[in-house]
């Protein structure tokens, strides 16, 4: 190597730290360590119980080899169908209801009071976990698919409405201006300037939400809202691991299938 110029020889270099202030750096490091220690101490691991459960875990994994689709075949089939129509009906109704609320949440289309009411309604429906809503509706409507249907509808409104509102706000404003200039009424403006711009992505979101609703239906069944979740819960309660394994596999396969389907549909729409 060529000889080293005296001005720079021997000058050390270390990578500059990400956080410039040394005090802050140490505080964050110490804070993280203290938190982790505290968190691990309060984990309350019960080794005896784990040792006992180990054998059960092995039986559960053993359930996958081979899974038993037959013994509870009817229940699984019914459960899947129930989940599917619950998800479908909830997606349709949810989207229909979310359109007025979504439009109401678009700042460029409605007066502020309407905007605030719609936005807060959507915020609440999105923030509450589905399973909590399901518990509430099961209390109100009794066990079964109706409670599940209402729960999924409720969740769909929040999800779809928010995305719809954001899409409308982000869409090109120029056509809207043009329509207004042409003297179009509010509904006409919606139909001609907003709908065509928002439609393609909305269909994509709708299909994705259908997929999500199906997956969620597997969960809310556990608290009594019908569908494949209820079947799964029963299988676990009776320690029928091969059947439980079969149900889990069915869920994975349907989710995979719907993922391919939604990718396909989105390509079609585009």
């Amino acid at each position: 190597m060529a000889e080293v110029a005296p001005s720079v020889s021997g000058r050390a270099w270390t990578r500059p730290p990400m956080i410039a202030s040394a005090t802050l750096r140490w505080c964050i490091l110490v804070g993280t360590i203290v938190y982790l220690i505290a968190a691990f101490i309060t984990l309350d691991v019960n080794w005896q119980r784990i040792a006992q459960g180990w054998e059960r875990g092995q039986r559960f994994l053993g359930g996958f080899a081979p899974p038993d689709f037959v013994t509870r075949g009817d229940a699984i089939f019914d459960g899947v169908l129930e989940s599917l129509w619950m998800a479908f009906a909830a997606t349709v109704v949810g989207i229909i209801l979310s359109i007025p609320i979504g439009v109401g949440g678009a700042r460029n289309l409605v007066p502020p009071p309407v905007y605030i009411v719609c936005r807060s309604f959507m915020a609440i429906t999105r923030t509450l976990p589905e399973i909590l809503v399901a518990i509430l509706f099961v209390k109100l409507f009794g066990f079964g698919t109706f409670a599940g249907f209402v729960t999924l509808t409720f969740a769909t409104i929040g999800y779809f409405g928010k995305l719809l509102a954001e899409d409308i706000e982000a869409a090109n404003q120029a056509p809207l201006e043009a329509m207004r200039a042409a003297g179009a009424s509010w509904l006409q403006r919606l139909n001609y300037a907003v709908q065509p711009l928002v439609m393609p992505r909305a269909i994509g979101i709708a299909i994705y939400r259908l997929d999500m609703n199906f997956r969620e239906s597997a969960v809310i069944g556990i608290v009594g809202a019908g569908g494949i979740g209820a079947t799964l819960n029963t299988a676990f309660d009776r320690y029928e691991f091969p059947s439980a394994a079969a149900i889990l596999l069915v869920i994975i396969i349907i989710v995979l299938g719907s993922e391919y389907l939604s990718a396909f549909c989105r390509r079609l729409v585009r």
Binding site: A39, N46, R49, L132, F141, G144, L248
Partner: protein, 271 residues
């Protein structure tokens, strides 16, 4: 534009007859499927229960108010457990998701024939099963408690973080990677210098985003016995103690909103 005056006519002419027929068939099919679905649902519904729902609702609401504020003091520990499940679970998920993502990404995978399909399978399996179901399984094996919840959160998050991260890895700019390769760097060094700096900010965003989702999920895992706020909720609902239920619901609501705010702030800072 003269569109408004001929509104109906124009609308009708928008598609030629073949296209129009197809659209109408699809719509009809959709409506038919929906009606059939709804009949199935209503067949399994006890409508008298549904009809008296407003009364029931009013009754429950009456009992929820006023909330039992005294009870809020007891919620400190469950809240702490909820936070821990989400945080430790996310950390655990990151430890497994990062190597899986590098195995799954086309441009960094060590072997297209073995490592990649294996990693993709792990990611898909983890993603398809909701954390509540993971918790159900794990509570059965490990016993009720925070540990089962933490692992359930981790299992579900591996797929989420893994998928988004491997997509980000596949989208990295190949030019700096070529440049690093041309210096004679080993494949490990190419990843460390060429790929990692490019995906770090994306990765931080994904992890924080998942942490935020995990907070929401861990508030309810207790319903199947995995500790945290959900456990208290389950007990209170079981005892029909609605004034306590309202306190817990408020606590969950507040936690979720705060975590959403924190996560949004951090994500804005890293990108």
């Amino acid at each position: 534009m003269s569109v408004q005056t001929t509104n109906g006519l124009r609308e009708w002419q928008r598609y030629d007859s073949k296209q129009g027929l197809l659209r109408w068939t699809l719509w009809l099919l959709g409506v038919a499927v929906f009606v059939w679905c709804f009949q199935k649902i209503s067949a399994g519904t006890e409508w008298s229960f549904v009809l008296d729902a407003p009364e029931q609702g009013a009754d429950i609401f009456d009992r929820m108010i006023p909330p039992d504020w005294e009870y809020a003091r007891v919620l400190g520990r469950p809240l702490w457990d909820t936070l821990n499940m989400a945080t430790l679970g996310t950390m655990g998920a990151v430890i497994f998701a990062v190597p899986l993502a590098f195995m799954a990404a086309q441009n960094t995978t060590p072997s297209v024939r073995f490592a990649r399909p294996f990693a993709l399978f792990c990611i898909v399996a983890s993603r398809s099963i909701n954390s509540v179901i993971w918790a159900l399984v794990l509570v059965m094996i490990l016993g009720p408690g925070v540990l089962a919840g933490t692992i359930a959160i981790a299992f579900r998050s591996i797929g989420f973080i893994g998928k988004l991260l491997y997509e980000a890895i596949e989208e990295t700019d190949h030019r700096p990677v070529d440049a690093i390769a041309s210096t004679g760097a080993s494949s490990g060094q190419i990843i460390a210098y060429g790929v990692v700096p490019q995906v770090t900010p994306v990765f931080a965003g994904i992890a924080v985003f998942r942490w935020d989702i995990n907070i929401r999920e861990s508030t309810i895992l207790g319903l199947v016995g995995a500790g945290g706020l959900g456990l208290e909720l389950n007990a209170s609902i079981g005892n029909l103690d609605w004034s306590r239920v309202s306190v817990i619901l408020l606590a969950i609501f507040a936690t979720v909103i705060v975590s959403e705010w924190v996560s949004a702030r951090i994500r804005k800072a890293v990108t």
